[in-house]
């Protein structure tokens, strides 16, 4: 009988000890899970300076190296959204490049670098980041966004420089919603954009490379000729370049923004 009572006492003791154990263990587990999730999520898809990522724009007609999925001609464009020369380049060559992409003659790799932050209150990095954000959502939206940012390019060193809210609005008009606003606000690609010029060995913009080799563009026709040297004759390239290639169908600018 005495032994039985003693047993009961110890059982109560054990019960309390067990509650303490479970509690402590739960705290440690929850803490570990939350900590790891937090680290993993916040580091998620945030490329750092030194990483190189391009925005590849192709069409379904892309001419490929025989037997592979590799494009025959890769046209790499290193641009800063604030650089006046890039704005001019876009005006002069933009339609031609669009035509080269749409006919499948080239795969275009856009590297939106940021080298003019000091002349634009950080606009270069923000615009570049926004472009990467948009491109992750849709390549077509990126093309419209890219064209639109150059169409309303602020003057270097003068401004006014579009803020993030404005960039989000332009992205929305280009057809990119989803997580793009968040991505633009958070500057997910900002670190990468800042390190991109150095990482790709670019010291002036625009820099054009064809299959990795520097190319100095003179006229749109010369560019077309150069590309045709690589991929062969593309009949569709003969026609006149469209003034503003793939006609975007953005929602009317005045349309009410969809609720986020």
């Amino acid at each position: 009988m005495a032994a039985k009572q003693k047993y009961d006492l110890r059982a109560a003791d054990r019960k309390r000890n067990r509650a303490v154990q479970i509690g402590l263990t739960a705290i440690v587990v929850i803490f570990a899970v939350v900590l790891v999730l937090y680290i993993v999520m916040s580091a998620d898809e945030k490329p750092t300076a030194g990483e190189v990522d391009s925005i590849r724009v192709t069409s379904s007609k892309l001419i490929k190296k025989e037997g592979t999925d590799e494009p025959k001609a890769v046209l790499s464009l290193y641009e800063d959204f604030l650089c006046p020369a890039c704005g001019n380049f876009e005006k002069q060559f933009g339609p031609t490049i669009n035509k080269l992409i749409d006919t499948g003659a080239v795969a275009a790799d856009y590297y939106m670098v940021s080298i003019l932050d000091r002349q634009g209150q950080g606009y270069s990095t923000r615009a570049s980041n926004a472009a990467y954000c948009v491109s992750r959502e849709s390549t077509d939206a990126f093309r419209r966004f890219h064209a639109q940012l150059y169409a309303q390019q602020p003057q270097e060193g003068v401004g006014p420089f579009p803020d993030n809210a404005r960039l989000i609005e332009i992205a929305r008009q280009a057809g990119a919603g989803g997580t793009v606003p968040e991505c633009i606000e958070k500057g997910t690609f900002a670190d990468m954009a800042e390190g991109l010029a150095k990482a790709t060995d670019v010291n002036s913009t625009p820099t054009i490379r064809i299959n990795g080799e520097d190319y100095n563009p003179t006229t749109p026709d010369a560019l077309i000729a150069k590309i045709q040297e690589i991929v062969g004759t593309v009949p569709e390239l003969a026609g006149p370049a469209p003034t503003r290639a793939p006609e975007p169908t953005p929602p009317a600018p005045g349309a009410p923004a969809p609720a986020p």
Partner: protein, 210 residues
């Protein structure tokens, strides 16, 4: 004692039998039985899948669900046959022993302490092996094989249960007592740690599923 079987090899007086045999609580006995059954089922499935692959190299195992959860790619690696034959064969032998032990323990047939000690040492070796496999799976092979993970998950609690039985009253010693008191917490933390390692290692893939 309901079982009136000739359960003791040395039928001396009952008091000495009580001390020579290891005391097994009902819950522990069931644990051993269940762990043995699950482990054996997993090892058997793995072996059968392995044979299917050998018969037909294009066979897609039932556990190849996605790029990360895929036993097909894991089973053909050298790590899956460390000793020159499929690891799952070891599993079949080992878990059969565990299963039989579980049956005996559930039937309240007393087994000598040295037997449990031997099983504990065997389980410990299995645990070491499992950790090596976890490391290889995560960081060398880069894929997870669901049936193998079942074996991982079974082995750790089994080690705890079997070594508790083997140690019996010897758990009053400082470090051992501490480990014994916190054994289920340690198991929980172990599971958490492995799951988090998996989460982090394959985060690139998991995040695409979100």
């Amino acid at each position: 004692m309901t079982v009136a079987a000739p359960n003791t090899v040395e039928p001396s007086d009952s008091a000495s039998v009580q001390s020579s045999g290891a005391e097994v609580r009902k819950r522990s006995a069931v644990w051993v039985l269940v762990a043995g059954a699950i482990g054996l089922a997993a090892a058997l499935t793995l072996t059968i899948e392995k044979i299917e692959i050998l018969i037909n190299p294009d066979y897609v195992p039932t556990c190849s669900i996605n790029p990360v959860l895929s036993c097909g790619s894991v089973m053909v690696t050298p790590q899956a046959s460390v000793f020159g034959f499929p690891n799952s064969l070891i599993g079949i032998v080992a878990f059969t022993v565990v299963l039989v032990t579980g049956v005996l323990a559930v039937s309240r047939i007393e087994l000598p302490r040295w037997y449990w000690t031997g099983l504990a040492i065997g389980t410990l070796l299995g645990t070491v092996f499992v950790h090596w496999l976890i490391y290889q799976s995560l960081y060398s092979i880069g894929a997870l094989c669901p049936y193998c993970m079942v074996v991982w998950a079974v082995t750790i609690p089994l080690l705890v249960v079997v070594s508790s039985i083997a140690l019996g009253q010897a758990t009053s010693n400082g470090v051992v007592a501490f480990l014994h008191t916190w054994r289920w917490s340690l198991v929980t933390l172990w599971f958490t740690a492995v799951l988090l390692l998996i989460l982090v290692r394959f985060w690139d893939y998991w995040s695409t599923l979100l």
